[in-house]
């Protein structure tokens, strides 16, 4: 199974303050452990929301809103994509991360896999999904 491990924004990350060298080193070591265990698939850190935009839709129109966005706790500052065997394994890994000594909250979410849909994904639905994906790939 795959999980996305989501790191929330903090006032520091939103202010564009870069992590300390010490934290970077520790994070580097932790990532290395994940690689060695064959767990880490991808990892990215995001720049502050001041350097991003939101696109809002409504009434057939779209509006582009410039950052920064205020609700810091709702913002994402980075993520990992891990391959683990259970959610508990992901929890055990994050306990070993440098975040263990912080006051931050890390969110772990399961990524949908085809088999998660089980019987709910009838052959008809599957076909629909397939043809939709085909249309997207043609466009």
């Amino acid at each position: 199974m795959r999980v996305m491990v989501i790191v929330k924004a903090t006032p520091d990350s939103e202010a564009g303050v870069l992590p300390s060298e010490e934290l970077l080193t520790e994070m580097g070591k932790f990532n290395e452990q994940l690689v060695k265990a064959g767990v880490l698939l991808a990892a990215e850190g995001l720049q502050s929301s001041a350097r991003g935009v939101r696109v809002r839709f409504g009434g057939g129109k779209s509006t582009v809103i410039d950052g920064p966005f205020t609700e810091t706790k709702e913002l994402i500052a980075g993520f990992w994509l891990w391959q683990v065997r259970s959610l508990e394994e992901a929890v055990e890994w994050i306990r070993r991360s440098p975040f263990a000594r912080s006051n931050e909250e890390i969110e772990i979410r399961r990524v949908f896999e085809a088999e998660d849909f089980g019987d709910a994904l009838t052959p008809e639905l599957r076909a629909q999904q397939q043809s939709r994906a085909e249309r997207i790939s043609r466009n």
């Binding site: 690689v35 060695k36 265990a37 064959g38 767990v39 698939l41 991808a42 994509l81 391959q83 065997r85 259970s86 508990e88 394994e89 929890v91 055990e92 890994w93 085809a114 088999e115 052959p123 008809e124 599957r126 076909a127 397939q130 994906a133 085909e134 997207i136 790939s137």
Partner: protein, 421 residues
């Protein structure tokens, strides 16, 4: 924390730590079977104690200390027996071993070397292939006997017996717990790669909707492969195998149709291909090729898979390069199946007549007598050349040879289409 939660946490810790635990114990006991039993004992102790005492702050270190203490007890008892027969030399060795052990956390490289020794031992050519795969999943994947049995669709006692026999065979032959060197390394490494790829294919061959354990085998093989690539970064074939598996796994969602029927590579919806895995596969391939050695079979197959992965549409495929890769591959692995794949690549690069010439040579050699893909490929090429009567005969022959009902129907449809043409 509730007791079931503790059990699940222990399960997760075991999953992360078991291979490292067994590997470092095996360095002490020189017997992987015994090392595994010691590790299991520590696990049982955790299952008994942690629900009462709570989960220790560093569960990994707790398991390691508990298991090592048991190993010391075992070695001390063994030493007492030896003392009756031998001189002080055993004592000296023991003292030396113990001083090594007192180091709280072994260095990272040391653990890495132990893990590598464990992989080589589990995949020892002395063992039958089935025993090697079961032992590898057990010792390196941390899978239970029940899980392995489910994955391979065989009864649990069969797997249990396979593992017991394999451990005994390793002990009886006194297989040293070491990383082979020189020429031996090449030979043993190919045995390791074979086992990992077998585990992958066991999962890959299973179509969607089956038991979750079967797709999980692909993930397991990928994980062991990635670990191996970290432990032996100088071996180009390890990167080749990882690249091949990542790229093949990227197509899992696309390779079965709405009702579970197989979808051929060129007909797959490429929007369903997993871009994360393709990216990882291409990087692994780059690493392997950067080592600058002559490309081995895994690296060549990965390079072929990468040609397809890079093509955004089937028409973008670089068939000329694929043909060149097959030329190299056929020199290393001169089997009729590889020859047939090469014939298909040649037909895509240089036209159906050129491909048919190669396929005809194969048919004349008679090496693929009962393999349905040979008449199927010939039928396809003949039809492309407008030789419909001959094509029809080939499709009908292929339909008789395949054991897959759906495939047989598809081939008969094509035969009927040739008749109308």
């Amino acid at each position: 924390m509730q007791a079931p939660d503790v059990a699940r946490t222990i399960d997760a810790v075991w999953r992360i730590e078991s291979a490292k635990l067994i590997a470092s114990l095996a360095r002490l006991t020189r017997d992987v079977g015994q090392a595994e039993e010691l590790a299991q004992d520590a696990l049982v102790t955790a299952l008994e104690q942690w629900p009462r005492t709570g989960i220790p702050a560093n569960p990994a270190a707790w398991l390691m200390t508990t298991a090592r203490n048991r190993a010391f007890d075992l070695l001390r008892r063994r030493r007492m027996l030896e003392r009756k027969h031998e001189t002080l030399s055993a004592d000296a060795r023991m003292a030396e071993e113990e001083s090594h052990m007192s180091v709280e956390a072994a260095a990272d490289d040391e653990i890495g070397d132990d893990l590598l020794r464990l992989i080589f031992t589990a995949c020892h050519p002395l063992l039958a292939t089935e025993a090697r795969t079961a032992l590898t999943l057990r010792l390196l994947g941390g899978l239970t006997t029940a899980e392995i049995a489910r994955a391979f669709l065989v009864p649990e006692p069969t797997i249990a017996q396979r593992i017991v026999r394999a451990k005994r065979a390793l002990a009886d032959a006194a297989v040293p717990f070491e990383i082979p060197r020189g020429e031996e390394l090449r030979r043993r490494l190919s045995s390791v790669l074979e086992v990992i790829y077998l585990i992958f294919n066991e999962g890959y061959a299973a179509t969607a909707g089956g038991d979750w354990m079967r797709p999980a085998l692909c993930e397991e093989a990928l994980r062991i492969g990635r670990i191996l690539a970290g432990l032996a970064p100088g071996e180009s074939e390890v990167h080749g195998l990882v690249a091949l598996m990542e790229i093949q796994a990227s197509r899992i969602r696309a390779r079965t149709g709405p009702s579970g029927e197989p979808v051929l590579l060129l007909e797959q919806n490429r929007a369903l291909w997993d871009r994360v895995l393709i990216h990882r596969g291409l990087i692994a391939l780059g690493r392997g090729e950067a080592l600058g050695e002559t490309r081995g079979p895994y690296l060549l197959q990965a390079a072929i898979a990468a040609c397809h992965a890079r093509a955004l549409a089937p028409t973008d495929t670089d068939w000329v390069y694929i043909t060149a890769l097959y030329d190299e591959l056929v020199r290393l692995v001169p089997t009729p199946v590889v020859e047939l794949n090469r014939a298909v690549a040649v037909s895509m690069a240089y036209g159906p007549a050129a491909g048919l010439e190669l396929a005809d040579a194969l048919a004349a050699a008679g090496a693929l007598g009962s393999y349905h893909l040979l008449p199927s490929v010939r039928g396809d090429l003949l039809a492309k050349l407008g030789r419909y009567t001959e094509a029809r005969g080939e499709f009908e022959r292929a339909a008789l040879l395949t054991r897959n009902v759906r495939e047989s129907r598809l081939l008969l449809d094509r035969a009927a289409a040739c008749e109308r043409a």
